[in-house]
C-alpha cells in the first residue's frame, strides 16, 4: 500500500513537471516579443533590453525554464501587466468564491444523483428508469451556457423568482448573504453533473446487485432494505468516489462557462476575461487548475485503494 502511494506520488510529480514544460512552451509560442507586448510598440531599445534582463529573457532557454520553475516554487505564478497584479494575488482573491460554487454544485449533484441512480437500478427497465435515462441523455448533451441562459429566461425573466446575475461581493460571506443569486449558477453546474453521476451510479448499482454476495444475503434472509443500503449501495459508492475525483477537470470547465453566464466573480470569470489579451493570467491559472486535477486524481486513486479492501498493490 505504502509502496503504491509512493509510486503514484512520483508519477504525479513527473506529470506535473511535464505540465510546467507545456506551459513554458506555450508561453514561448506566443506571437511577438513579450517586452513589446508589455511596454508598448514605442518602447526604446534600451528599455526592452532592460526588461529582457529583468525577466531573464536574455538567458538561454533552459535557464529560462529553470527560472520559471524557481518562480513557481516560490509561489510566483506570473504577473498580469493589464491588471497590474500578480496572478497569485488574483487567484487568491477569487479562489474561495469558485470553491463555494463548485463545492455546492458537486454537493447538490451527489445528493440528487446517488438516490436517483439507486432508484433507477432498482426499477431497472421500468417506465421511470427510461424517463430518467432519457432526461440524463438530454441534459448531458446540453451546452452548459445555454442551460444557464434558459434557467435565467424561465426563473428570472418570466417568473421573477430569482435574480439573473450571481451576487457580487468581495468575499464568501457577502455572497452567501445574497444566496438567492447563487441558486441558478449552482443549479446550472449541478444539472450536467447529475446526468453523468446518476448514469454512473445506476450502472455501478446494477453491477453490485448482480454479485454473489447479494444472493447470499438474500438467501440468509436479510431484509430488502438492508440488502440495498448495506450491501449493494456501500459497494457501489466506491467507484463513485473515484468518479467525483476524476470529473474535476470537467467541473472546472463547466465553472468557466457558468461564471461567465452569471457574471460570478470567480476564477472562471477571471480566466474568460483574460482570454483576449492577458496570457500570463491564462497560463498561471491553467497551471493551478492542472495541479488541482493532478491532486484530485491522486486522492481519487488512493481513496479507491483505501475504500476497497479487495484492492492490494
Amino acid at each position: 500500500m505504502t509502496g503504491y502511494i509512493i509510486r503514484r506520488l512520483l508519477q504525479s510529480v513527473a506529470v506535473l513537471l511535464l505540465v510546467t514544460l507545456i506551459m513554458f512552451a506555450l508561453f514561448h509560442m506566443l506571437p511577438g516579443n513579450p517586452a513589446r507586448a508589455e511596454l508598448g510598440v514605442k518602447a526604446q531599445p534600451a528599455a526592452i533590453a532592460a526588461f529582457d534582463k529583468m525577466q531573464g529573457l536574455d538567458k538561454p532557454v533552459w535557464y529560462q525554464y529553470y527560472l520559471y520553475l524557481d518562480h513557481l516554487a516560490h509561489g510566483n505564478l506570473g504577473f498580469s501587466y493589464i491588471q497590474n497584479a500578480s496572478v497569485a494575488l488574483l487567484f487568491a482573491q477569487r479562489f474561495p468564491k469558485s470553491i463555494l460554487l463548485v463545492g455546492l454544485a458537486t454537493l447538490v449533484a451527489v445528493v440528487i444523483a446517488i438516490p436517483l441512480g439507486v432508484m433507477q437500478a432498482v426499477r431497472r427497465n421500468k417506465p421511470e428508469d427510461y424517463f430518467f435515462t432519457g432526461t440524463s441523455f438530454v441534459f448531458y448533451s446540453f451546452p452548459t451556457f445555454w442551460l444557464g441562459i434558459i434557467l435565467i429566461e424561465i426563473f428570472s425573466i418570466q417568473a421573477h423568482w430569482l435574480p439573473p446575475e450571481a451576487p457580487e461581493g468581495t468575499n464568501v460571506a457577502q455572497i452567501l448573504a445574497n444566496w438567492k443569486g447563487l441558486v441558478l449558477p449552482v443549479l446550472t453546474l449541478a444539472l450536467v453533473s447529475i446526468a453523468a453521476y446518476s448514469r454512473y451510479m445506476r450502472s455501478s448499482m446494477i453491477e453490485s446487485l448482480a454479485q454473489d454476495y447479494i444472493r447470499t444475503a438474500r438467501a440468509k434472509g436479510v431484509g430488502r432494505r438492508a440488502i440495498l443500503l448495506r450491501h449493494a449501495l456501500r459497494n457501489s459508492l466506491i467507484p463513485m468516489a473515484t468518479l467525483i475525483g476524476l470529473s474535476l477537470p470537467s467541473v472546472l470547465s463547466g465553472a468557466v462557462i457558468t461564471e461567465s453566464v452569471f457574471n460570478y466573480p470567480g476564477i472562471g470569470l477571471l480566466f474568460w476575461q483574460s482570454a483576449q489579451s492577458d496570457v500570463p493570467v491564462l497560463l498561471g491559472l491553467t497551471l493551478v487548475a492542472a495541479v488541482g486535477v493532478i491532486v484530485g486524481n491522486l486522492v481519487a486513486d488512493v481513496l479507491y485503494a483505501v475504500l476497497d479492501p479487495r484492492i492490494r498493490y
Binding site: Q11, V15, L16, L18, V19, L21, I22, L26, M29, P31, F137, V138, Y140, S141, F142, P143, T144, F145, W146, I149, I150, E153, I157, V192, S193, A196, R199, Y200, P239, T242, L243, L246, S247, L248, P249, S250, V251, L252, S253, G254, V256, I257, S260, F271, A275, S277, V279, L282, L283, L285, T286, A289, A290, V293, N297, A300, D301, Y304, A305, I311
Partner: protein, 315 residues
C-alpha cells in the same frame, strides 16, 4: 490500475464518457468468420432502439442542413438591418435575427458548418489518437512511458482551459479551429487504443508477424488498428458530440469563428444578447439543434458499444 476503473475520457461538458466497457473484444472469436461477427453486430445495432433513434435524428438533421437550403431559399449573405428581429411569420417561419438573417435558413447553413467541423475534429482526433496509442503500446518501454506521461499531463489541463488558451494564442480560422478542437480530443482514443493494443500485442498472430520479420509499422496498421476498430468507432461518435459542444462553448465565450462562418454556437451566442427583449426565436432553435445532434451521436456511440459487446449479443 485503479484509474482505469472510472470511465475514460471526461469530456468538456461534464460528461464522463463511459467508454470503459468498450474495451471488451471478441474473446475466442476465431471460430466465427468476420462476416458473421459483422452481421451479428449490425443486427444487435438495429435491434437497439437508441441506435435507430440516433440514426433517424442524424439523417433528419443532415437532410435539414444540406438539402433544406435548396427548398427553403433564404439570403444568408448580405446583412439586412431593416428586417432585423422580426417575429416568426409566414415570410420568415422562425423570424429573423438582429442582423436581418432568416433564422430558419441560418439554422440550416450554420448546421452544415457545425456538423462538418464536429466530424472533422472528431475524426482527426480519432485517427491521431489511435496511431499514437498503438505506436506507444507497440514501442513499449521508455518510449511508451514518456508518450503516456505526456497524455497524462495534457489530460490534467481542463479541456476548456486548454481550449481558451489555444484560441487566445492562435486566434483560429476554420482549419486551425478543427485542429484546436482535435487537439483537446485525441487523448481519450490514445489511452483507449493503447490499452487495447497492450493486450493485442501479446496475441499469437502479432507474435507471428514479429517472428516473420514484419515491421512495427505493419503490426500497428495491419493488426492493432483493425482489431481495435470497435473501440475506436464507439469513441469517435462521442468525440464528435463533444467537439460540437466545445465549438458552441467557444462561440459563446466569443472565441469561436467569425460570423462569416455561421455556426449554431454563434447563433446561440447572438441570441443570448437579446433574451431580455423576449426574442425567443433567436434563443431556442439553435440550442435545440445542438442538443439533438449531440444526443444523436451519443445514442449512436452507446448503441455501438452495446452491439460490439459480445455479452449482450444474441448468439
Amino acid at each position: 490500475m485503479a484509474a482505469q476503473v472510472a470511465p475514460g475520457a471526461p469530456s468538456l461538458m461534464g460528461i464522463a464518457t463511459p467508454a470503459a466497457g468498450a474495451t471488451e473484444q471478441y474473446e475466442g472469436g476465431e471460430a466465427r468468420t468476420s462476416g458473421s461477427v459483422l452481421k451479428l453486430t449490425l443486427r444487435t445495432f438495429i435491434e437497439n432502439k437508441l441506435a435507430v433513434a440516433g440514426l433517424a435524428i442524424l439523417v433528419f438533421l443532415v437532410l435539414f442542413c444540406f438539402v433544406g437550403p435548396h427548398i427553403y431559399v433564404t439570403n444568408q449573405r448580405t446583412l439586412n438591418p431593416a428586417n432585423s428581429n422580426y417575429a416568426p411569420s409566414g415570410a420568415h417561419l422562425l423570424g429573423t435575427d438582429s442582423e436581418g438573417f432568416d433564422v430558419l435558413g441560418r439554422l440550416m447553413v450554420a448546421g452544415q458548418s457545425s456538423i462538418e467541423i464536429g466530424l472533422a475534429a472528431g475524426f482527426t482526433a480519432a485517427i491521431f489518437g489511435t496511431l499514437y496509442g498503438a505506436v506507444s503500446a507497440v514501442a513499449g518501454g521508455v518510449v511508451d512511458a514518456v508518450l503516456m506521461r505526456l497524455v497524462d499531463a495534457l489530460y490534467s489541463l481542463p479541456a476548456l482551459f486548454l481550449l481558451i488558451l489555444l484560441s487566445a494564442i492562435f486566434a483560429p480560422n476554420l482549419p486551425l479551429m478543427i485542429l484546436v478542437l482535435a487537439f483537446i480530443a485525441w487523448l481519450g482514443p490514445a489511452r483507449l487504443v493503447r490499452g487495447e493494443a497492450l493486450t493485442l500485442r501479446t496475441r499469437e498472430y502479432v507474435q507471428a508477424v514479429k517472428v516473420a520479420g514484419g515491421t512495427q509499422g505493419r503490426i500497428v496498421v495491419r493488426h492493432i488498428v483493425p482489431n481495435a476498430i470497435g473501440t475506436i468507432m464507439v469513441n469517435t461518435s462521442f468525440l464528435i458530440a463533444d467537439a460540437i459542444l466545445a465549438l458552441a462553448a467557444l462561440s459563446y465565450l466569443g472565441l469561436g469563428l467569425p460570423d462569416t462562418t455561421p455556426t449554431w454556437g454563434g447563433m446561440l451566442s447572438n441570441g443570448t444578447n437579446v433574451i431580455f427583449d423576449g426574442y425567443w426565436w433567436q434563443l431556442y432553435p439553435a440550442g435545440i439543434a445542438i442538443v439533438l445532434t449531440v444526443v444523436a451521436f451519443n445514442f449512436i456511440g452507446d448503441a455501438l458499444r452495446d452491439s460490439l459487446d459480445v455479452r449482450l449479443q444474441k448468439r
